[in-house]
Symmetry: C2
């Protein structure tokens, strides 16, 4: 069996790297039974590799601080790039491919921006590439899209792809906590970084959606194709209004085919409480896929964490090792089919949706008339006006629900509303997603 | 490109076969882009093939009533066995493997009983085998277990795997419909057969669980290893009591590792309303997987239907075609690892669970005392007694909740209780599943 064994080099011993090593060490027997050969960790690399405590089964493994030693090690057939970021990671992957090593990566940012190009180079060099861990750590959504439902023609994909934001939103929802307090709690629990912008402003989710949309639609999609808006403006009162409408609010990632093209967005949205997506609470992730033939399927699991993400890395190592031993390098990129023309990204302003508009006003007569006339001038119809009891006349929240309207017209109306002197802050506009 | 194309023969043009052909015809361009070559349907077979209407793109395809012509056709590299049942289907698969054809099957019964053996023959003959469509049609759970989370060590798998039963149960739950009426409606909608036994007595779900448990635990598991109980005895009043306990009732498929071995069951059980499994309503299926490293993941979709199941068949055809062109036959069976000894099936009576006991009695003094003393003699503790308002003294339902107790002791107690003359029918006992 030994001559079949596949040598692995691990670069990056942070959360994901340490989870990966633990699984490779503890679960080695079952991994070998499933593969018919062993995965051998030949070398590990980290900037502070001397401080790292490895699992006892791997204590003897060679350690280095220089990633170049990993990508040039003749015993290494697969390089796991687990350092994150885009600079060094890109150099590592480029060098590994150059040296004919297969690559497993957990790097969402790099794959979102350069995945199509990296995949092309991997195919040209005849190696294997895998990136299950780059999106929704514990959910094997790449295996689902590339293999499980590859025969379907996907029409829409919705995701809750940032666990930190989802934790903050569901804390606000369940305990009526202010945003700042829920964020501080997320930071205390280690879900959010000291600088939380990547999570709460939607940039992390945007990279993940770029990858999933590329896989789902076979298109070259880059993060800047995606309209992105974070959750900083959501307040507990928005959940109270949403519940009145039998909806909730999530940071929703959307890739949706329309007759005009592909709509891509990461933004807080109202979704019905009855949809299974609404039951995704805390730091969990989920993906909802609608196919023309298979209809709706839904996938749910932990979005991050050393061990769930480690499972994704180890499963990728197994898949790649199997393909190396079968002598079957990548032949078709999951990103870049010839363009069929159906899935060209289009601006978010082209969509038509019902909208939730929440205002905070310094109360006085004539407010509704002023707002309604701005909407009326743009042919936007009001479906409902909601106002929960409130004590403050100086900062009074209320909500207008719009019938399905072009987002471009709604934005024009919002820009005009922002000039009104009775507003405490600019209006908050959230789309209402139907039919999930 | 043409010399790379893979020839396919379809045997069986019922629901699944016609869905498969429709997807192969309509989605041919996208399938070719994803594969880098075409899947060509070379021949279709059905007992009444002359009556079948094929998609216009496939109208010219050769038709036969004799499956032997398909498995011996030199242009056919993959045989799709979509006839169901175990007799002819087994002959078809055996002959296909014998002739060196790869096989895609949707046959749960055959794979549940003979999957391990068929897989061994496929490996010995050097062909590829796939069976995504055999369980939970629209959910790509095989891809998940074999690839997506293959690095994890699975500790438990729960499923709702029979859409008909789930439809009947959720109709009873939502509309307070009697069992017989919900069953008749399921038959009217085409979910249930004229003889509904396979669905409502749990046999269909049992075959599916046998396959999933084999994949999840790498064991040889056959359907008769699985304790099986159907839903005929569930009544709307059971949902009323379950809701009082913030639970609901589903036909739950369970494969759960315990220190003693693997517990396998298909039976109605109480599950918390807060679990995402409880939100599976109507004819949907779902699978919940708990891994030692990846923790909980959840998969949801349509369990049956020509097109969702057709997506599974087409995705399998694509995977097998890819592997044929890569020259990589099956090497390791997903069923039969060397036995690690951890996953030996054990009798259901060895489990310890809280139980829900529902009685229907002809009311008189002393009933609770009689029941309680039977329980007390077996050291079974009562956690609660529930009684909803009821007009009939002659057929009065009430419920006893047991603290976690060995199922063997509970069964002994039930056997003794059945002798009591105040019971209108034998007590109904359902386990309460915690911590999903």
């Amino acid at each position: 069996m030994a001559e079949l064994d596949v040598g692995v080099g691990i670069i990056g011993l942070g959360n994901v790297g340490s989870g990966t090593l633990r699984i490779l060490a503890e679960n080695a027997d079952q991994i070998s039974l499933k593969l018919g050969f062993r995965l051998n960790v030949e070398v590990v690399c980290s900037r502070r590799v001397e401080e790292k405590i490895l699992p006892p089964q791997l204590a003897h493994v060679r350690r280095t601080r220089d990633w170049r030693e990993v990508v040039s090690d003749p015993r290494v057939e697969i390089v796991a790039e687990l350092v994150g970021g885009t600079d060094v990671a890109a150099q590592i992957i480029d060098a590994a491919i150059e040296n004919g090593k297969s690559v497993v990566t957990a790097n969402k940012e790099l794959m979102a921006w350069r995945g199509a190009e990296i995949w092309e180079r991997a195919i040209a060099r005849g190696i294997n590439l895998a990136m299950e861990a780059s999106v929704a750590g514990g959910i094997p959504i790449h295996a689902v899209l590339r293999e499980g439902i590859s025969g379907d023609r996907i029409t829409a994909l919705y995701g809750i792809l940032n666990g930190t934001s989802n934790y903050i939103l569901t804390e606000m929802e369940q305990y009526n906590r202010p945003f700042e307090e829920a964020l501080a709690e997320a930071q205390r629990l280690g879900y959010a970084e000291a600088d939380p912008s990547a999570d709460i402003d939607g940039w992390d989710a945007r990279s993940k959606l770029a990858i999933l949309a590329a896989l789902a639609f076979g298109e070259r999609i880059i993060p800047s194709d995606i309209y992105t808006e974070g959750i900083r403006r959501i307040r507990p009162v928005d959940f109270q209004y949403a519940h009145q409408l039998r909806h909730t609010i999530r940071l929703l990632c959307t890739a949706r085919q329309t007759p005009e093209g592909l709509l891509l967005s990461v933004r807080p949205a109202l979704i019905p409480q009855s949809t299974i997506l609404a039951s995704v609470r805390g730091a969990y992730n989920a993906v909802w896929v609608r196919g023309q033939y298979g209809h709706d399927t839904f996938y749910y699991g932990q979005g991050a964490g050393p061990l769930p993400t480690g499972v994704a890395v180890v499963s990728d190592l197994m898949r790649v090792a199997r393909e190396i031993r079968r002598g079957s390098p990548e032949r078709v990129s999951p990103f870049a089919h010839e363009r069929l023309g159906e899935y060209e990204p289009i601006p978010i302003t082209k969509q038509r949706r019902p909208f939730y508009l929440r205002f905070r006003v310094n109360d006085r007569p004539g407010i509704l008339a002023a707002l309604a006339s701005i909407l009326a001038r743009r042919q936007i119809s009001v479906e409902a006006v909601l106002q929960l009891p409130c004590e403050s006349k100086r900062d009074l929240p209320f909500v207008i629900i719009l019938e399905p309207s072009p987002e471009s017209a709604v934005r024009d109306a919002l820009a005009e509303m922002e000039q009104l002197d009775f507003l405490v802050e600019p209006p908050l506009a959230l789309p209402i997603e139907p039919g999930l």
